[in-house]
């Protein structure tokens, strides 16, 4: 059984890092590197071993692998893990971004075992969220990844800022996620209680709660809202974006990658897997509102991004704007948009990760993140300008990158059902072009400061960015494998 190992390996890795917590040795880095590689290997193994022909295209949900043991029999809670196409893709992405994060912090931090311990716990929590089939277990993992994140933000946060402001940023992030998490917990318990009062059986199992007895529409709507808020905080969507944006601008480069790549995806994943399936009636009625929020996010995000001087904050706002497209895709409710959503999730996190790494590299060399102080870098750092342009172009969704495909499929899929929304959202792409070009223009053009001699980009850094670039290109030119894998779980997300 591979599934428990996907969760146990990061925990073991974390605890191996732990004795080295105080020494600044190389050990923890290698351990986390090995853990991430192992996660990737294991998930590829699962991918290859499965015989897709055996998948049943029926009404019942089907997963490739199951693992379940009883946990708290008083409430019928089980440790129930299973994997399907969507979760597999997410686990793969998690492994890849984890690898990037480890490589990225290779030299940058006085990275001790404590840092890697926290990172491994986040990995464990995120993978747990993707695999768990029991809502109680899901909630445990959902909470587990927040605490190490808080530590990462408040202890390794941006160096220029004072300690108190870092801790405050961490706290703000924590309050948002924690209060929305409480809503989620209340909703989960209520759902289980509704099931109990109808059938007399305690269960938190996702598969069983799917066939929950009819509850009144109001209750369903309220529960759906609780789920939506919890997921929207992690996406982020407009009224709830404050904490995540702040966390980005205060977080270290690696933390930012984790945040964007991992935590955010759990929001999208949660909406796809839980919100829609558990509360179909309420979700369909809620769709216009959610799409409205999506549109607001698109425009607000891109306008705010255009306004920023801090380069990292700018990237954070661009991701807010992309999440708008994601929500529109999710709530469109059809297969084309769903495929677009999956591709958008993957490619957006890769391109944003690329941009965040570029920010980190620039900061390492220039010790500022203020774009008005950076000028004329075009001839300075050998490959960096070219790579930056690639990621900026990917963010604006130029054909040839995965982002283009994702946005295209989402808009294409939603046009049939929500033409007005689609037309308005398409205008968002124009603003994406504006803010990415303005970023390039501000930082790389202009009169070069010739006295500045900046360190060239190292092979390790080139490798990270190159790998991200290859995956993004691959996603556009040969997206069929991804679409295939995710479509196997499309029957799990039937509309």
């Amino acid at each position: 059984m591979f599934l428990p190992w996907l969760i146990i390996i990061p925990i073991i890795g974390g605890f191996l890092c732990f004795p080295l917590a105080r020494s600044g040795t190389e050990g923890p880095r290698w351990i986390s590197l090995i853990v991430c590689v192992l996660i990737l290997i294991l998930s590829f193994e699962i991918l290859w071993k499965n015989d897709y022909a055996l998948m049943q295209y029926g009404k019942e949900l089907s997963f490739w692998q199951h693992y379940s043991i009883s946990w708290i029999s008083r409430f019928g809670i089980q440790v129930h893990l299973s994997i399907d196409g969507l979760s597999l893709l997410m686990v793969l992405l998690t492994g890849l971004l984890g690898l990037m994060a480890v490589l990225c912090s290779w030299r940058e931090l006085d990275s001790t075992g404590w840092f890697h311990f926290n990172m491994m716990l986040i990995l464990c929590g995120v993978i747990g969220v993707f695999l768990s089939q029991d809502l109680f277990l899901f909630f445990c993992f959902w909470e587990i990844m927040i605490i190490p994140m808080y530590f990462l933000i408040s202890l390794w946060g941006h160096k220029e800022l004072s300690e108190t402001s870092r801790i405050t940023a961490g706290l703000k992030f924590f309050i948002y996620t924690q209060s929305s998490g409480l809503l989620l917990l209340i909703a989960i318990i209520t759902l289980s209680l509704v099931h109990y009062s109808a059938t007399g059986l305690w269960t938190f199992s996702y598969l069983q709660l799917l066939h929950h007895p009819q509850m009144s529409y109001t209750v369903e709507y309220i529960l759906m809202l609780c789920f939506f808020i919890a997921f929207a905080v992690k996406l982020p969507l407009v009224p709830l974006h404050g904490a995540v944006i702040d966390a980005h601008s205060f977080a270290p480069t690696t933390g930012a990658i984790d945040l964007i790549g991992l935590l955010i995806k759990t929001g999208g994943y949660g909406l796809l897997r839980f919100s829609f399936l558990l509360f179909p009636r309420a979700s369909i009625n809620f769709a216009p509102t959610a799409m409205m929020l999506g549109i607001i996010s698109i425009f607000y995000g891109s306008w705010m991004a255009f306004n920023q001087n801090d380069i990292k904050r700018m990237v954070a706002y661009t991701s807010l704007s992309h999440m708008g497209f994601l929500v529109i895709g999710i709530y469109t409710n059809n297969s084309l948009a769903y495929q677009g959503t999956v591709i958008q999730m993957i490619s957006h996190s890769l391109s944003a990760a690329g941009l965040f790494i570029v920010c980190g590299l620039l900061y390492q060399r220039l010790h500022t993140r203020n774009m008005s102080q950076i000028e004329g870098l075009w001839h300075n750092i050998n490959y960096l300008p070219a790579l930056t342009i690639f990621f900026a172009v990917a963010t604006m969704g130029l054909p040839g990158t995965g982002n283009f495909l994702g946005e295209f499929l989402i808009l294409f899929g939603s046009y049939r059902f929500f033409p007005t929304v689609t037309i308005i959202a398409s205008f968002g792409i124009i603003f994406a072009t504006v803010y990415s070009l303005i970023m390039i223009q501000r930082t790389f053009f202009g009169s070069p400061n010739l006295s500045l001699r900046l360190k060239k980009i190292s092979i390790r850094e080139l490798f990270i960015l190159g790998l991200l670039m290859c995956v993004l290109l691959g996603l556009c030119f040969y997206p069929q494998p991804v679409i295939n894998i995710s479509s196997w779980s499309y029957i799990n997300i039937p509309y």
């Binding site: 708290i72 605490i147 318990i189 209680l193």
Partner: protein, 486 residues
């Protein structure tokens, strides 16, 4: 009448502790005040009682003798009370090593624990009163034990004033209740009391209100909480352990039994009063704890908030067995994690005499094991998954949903978000870079006292994690811990 041998056995702790009180007195005379002797006697007595109770834990039967009910409920709560007294003895060892006279402390502590056990089994207002007094009077001695410290004297005076006032309230309520029923037994009063019945007799309602006030003082619920932070600040940490766990658990167990047997919470206005008290305790306790810089005052306010959560379970306790289960799980989580936290604070504050938060800055870089344990305890008190505290929180949310208590749910949400903020803010202090001027830390040698506290905290940490991961063990255990009405 068929009495299981286990039931007789489970009465034993009272006799053991009683015997130990006399033995400690004798040993004081014979061994010419050799404190080691009384320490060993106290620990053996407590340990023996704990093991007897653990042996008897799965009993279905019960015995009722005129003043006491010996049942699973009594066994469970006495176990908690004795464990916390045991921990207090171990923690107080470090602090007492600076004192010439140690024996009286053990003596007072034993008497107070005897009172606690009595409370856990009281099924009658008379034994309830004896229990409360047996516990509160020695407590005055314990609080004022550090008599050279002016804060300690202040705490002692404040506590004694309030203790006497609340006792007089209690006696007055007793008089009114007895005057009405001519009876002091809970179960016999309970057969008559209904909501309509209470409406007919306003004087009885006054009596019950006085009872609630008196219990509110003892449990330091808002609005009767003002003494708590001052007293906590004035006393040494081991005494806080006793105040925050043993005393509160004992009184809680007694009032919970009363509320199970006598359904006064059916009455609209009594329920509203209890709800308002719970609401205020949670919100005010958490809000004030948020602003504290002194760790001891902080503990005082956070204990008010935790008692507020527990008070919620009391409101519905006569309707549903589930609320008793909630109270017991929550109490166990609260007991284990606050004992652990207080043990760590005892260790740290024995190095530097102040209880300011600055002592904890950068502790991780000096003492990683202790700070990890402290982190786990904090997370458990905050109710983060994979700890026992979370299971309690989970139960509480479920109870609130079952009972449709939406206002209390709002209080709970506000409270737990604030609580997580301050617990985490203190936790993150442990991992910051240590202050430069304090880097020359005064190294303290590892004595037996310190070692035993370390071991106790380690065991508590492991318990919190293990029971949080496998809560089914606790759930099976507490299935037997309910009072069976005759």
């Amino acid at each position: 009448m068929n009495i299981e041998i286990k039931m007789i056995l489970s009465l034993l702790p009272m006799f053991i502790i009683g015997a130990m009180i006399i033995l400690v007195l004798i040993s004081m005379v014979i061994s010419r005040r050799n404190s080691g002797c009384s320490l060993i006697l106290t620990l053996t007595g407590l340990l023996l009682s704990i093991s007897v109770l653990i042996y008897c834990r799965y009993t279905e039967t019960f015995v009722i003798i005129p003043f006491l009910s010996i049942d699973g409920y009594y066994i469970f709560f006495s176990l908690l009370i004795l464990i916390s007294s045991f921990a207090t003895v171990i923690f107080s060892n470090i602090w007492l090593s600076f004192y010439p006279d140690k024996e009286e402390f053990y003596l007072l502590l034993l008497i107070a624990s005897l009172g606690g056990i009595l409370l856990a089994s009281a099924n009658n207002f008379a034994s309830l009163f004896i229990g409360i007094e047996l516990m509160s009077v020695p407590l005055l001695g314990i609080i004022g034990y550090a008599s050279h410290n002016k804060f300690s004297i202040e705490a002692c005076i404040k506590y004694s004033m309030l203790s006497f006032i609340s006792t007089s309230f209690f006696l007055f309520s007793l008089a009114l209740i007895y005057g009405h029923f001519g009876n002091l037994v809970f179960s016999e009063i309970g057969t008559e009391v209904t909501a309509e019945y209470l409406n007919k007799y306003p004087l009885l309602l006054v009596g019950l209100a006085l009872l609630i006030t008196s219990i509110g003082f003892k449990l330091s619920l808002v609005p009767f909480h003002f003494w708590t932070p001052d007293v906590y600040q004035g006393v040494p940490t081991p005494v806080i352990t006793f105040l925050a766990t043993t005393i509160k658990i004992a009184i809680f167990s007694a009032i919970a039994r009363f509320l199970i047997l006598v359904s006064i919470t059916d009455h609209e206005s009594i329920r509203m009063v209890l709800e308002v008290m719970a609401f205020l305790s949670i919100v005010v306790g958490n809000l004030l704890a948020f602003y504290q810089k002194n760790l001891k005052r902080f503990l005082g306010y956070s204990s008010i908030a935790h008692l507020g959560y527990l008070w919620i379970s009391l409101i519905f306790i006569n309707k549903h067995l589930f609320s008793l289960e909630t109270a017991e799980i929550y109490l166990l989580g609260y007991l284990l994690s606050s004992l652990g936290l207080l043990g760590i604070i005892t260790l740290i504050s024995s190095r530097n005499q102040t209880s300011s938060l600055d002592n904890y800055r950068g502790l991780f870089w000096k003492d990683p094991v202790i700070s990890i344990m402290m982190t786990i305890m904090m997370l458990s008190l905050a109710g983060i998954p994979m700890t026992l505290g979370f299971i309690g929180k989970f139960y509480l949310i479920m109870l609130l949903i079952i009972m449709h208590a939406w206002w209390l749910m709002v209080a709970f949400m506000i409270g737990s978000v604030i609580a997580i903020c301050y617990y985490l803010r203190i936790t993150v202090y442990l991992y910051l870079s240590p202050p430069m001027e304090k880097i020359s830390s005064n190294y303290t040698p590892l004595t037996i006292g310190r070692l035993s506290v370390n071991i106790a905290v380690l065991i508590l940490t492991i318990l919190v994690i293990i029971l949080g991961l496998i809560p089914q063990v606790v759930i099976t255990f507490i299935k037997y811990a309910h009072p069976i009405p005759s």
